[in-house]
Subunit: 210 residues, 2 copies
DNA sequence: TAGATTGTTAATCGATTAACAATC
DNA sequence: TAGATTGTTAATCGATTAACAATC
């Protein structure tokens, strides 16, 4: 577990390496050089080697990298060799969409509960998981040792619930709400601001040219 | 429209400025200095001024920035003063969630059509928009002058449909599929790789410490 | 006018790329 | 052994921060 000082840029690239390596495994490719991978991914071979060497020497001179091994190692670095207990807070369209997305479960992110404030949703089941009311959260988190909370509710709701999560020992928040959460240092926040993304698209669409 | 050479990092920060300025307008704040904004946003005042001056001098010495004016100007830079015609391709949970998300519409991104390959969904309506079959896409895009396609379908489907979109004049793709699309330079691609995001969360969760 | 704060230039810092010795 | 390719150091490039003159 000794590392740190790894830049955000590097961490951001790891899932992409992981994805390409997964595809290579599917294609039954056994070994790959940083140069071949560089061609596939449109990054420099130098960057690939630098990135990987932040975590250790996974390759072999004259040979390259063993695809399966490297895939496994990056998986471990990303923490994908473990399972995580998750709740989804906000059972609207997006929340339900994420709850239904089984691929996350396959990667080890298990949805243990879905929560909402709307009493009309109480007891309604999404993929076999009944929707609970938000006031049950503190107990639920502690009882089920929930590590990750996915926030798919409006801004104000997210801001209200976030400190409660922190108080009850949530370790990470996957935040889809359109706001920046201010939480203690020991709570990891990963933001997915879809409207920011759409605005970037819009910018690029308008400014793409000579 | 003269610019370019604006770095990705800057463009990525613009929506966040825009969001904070919107909040300030709601809070009836009329003017703000780069220093105050810096405190709110946890970025350096220097960076704020540098970022903005990529696009012009929006402030005034001794005064700061007029919130409403700056908000408008950033909106224009992001292209939010226009409307866009959009289709959503893939009417699964995520596609339907996005189709139901009215805030996008309010920002000018209008969903004109929803498409799927599953014949059982044909004619089903989402927020009043009936689901069409993917083979109708080329005609639909041209007829309705669609500029943006949102891809919320599996990898293989996305890879199949993407070139068809490009051929029929789509200008930008908002890609939620778990794959990198290879398209002509004149098609903007904005990726939202949710599982990459979840992996970054997982990394940070495991490596947060001393 | 004095004070505040921008716009912008210069300095620093960090990340990417290039180069090459080590070694399989 | 010769060839290939890594791991790693050094060079370059770009982005962030600091500083300050311009000016409202």
């Amino acid at each position: 577990m000794e590392d740190h000082g790894i830049s955000k840029a590097v961490v951001k690239r790891l899932p992409r390496y992981y994805r390409y390596l997964g595809d290579l495994i599917e294609a039954k490719v056994e070994r790959i050089s940083s140069n071949e991978l560089s061609d596939m991914m449109n990054v420099t071979a130098s960057q690939i080697r630098q990135d990987l060497n932040n975590f250790g020497g996974f390759g072999q001179q004259g040979y390259g990298y063993n695809v399966k091994y490297l895939y496994q190692e990056i998986g471990k670095i990303l923490g994908l060799d473990k399972t995580y207990s998750m709740v989804i807070i906000g059972a609207g369209n997006l929340g339900q969409a994420l709850a239904n997305y089984v691929k996350f479960e396959k990667r080890g992110f298990v949805v243990k509960g879905i929560f909402d404030i709307n009493p009309r949703l109480k007891g309604v089941a999404v993929r076999g998981i009944e929707i609970r009311m938000v006031d049950e959260l503190p107990e639920f988190i502690r009882e089920h040792k929930i590590q990750i909370a996915t926030l798919t509710l409006p801004k104000t709701g997210a801001e209200k619930v976030a400190p409660i999560l922190a108080e009850n020992g949530i370790q990470a928040i996957w935040n889809f709400a359109h706001t920046d959460l201010h939480l203690p240092e020991n709570v990891v926040v990963e933001n997915v601001h879809l409207s920011d993304s759409l605005m970037q698209l819009s910018y690029n669409l308008n400014h793409l040219n000579q």
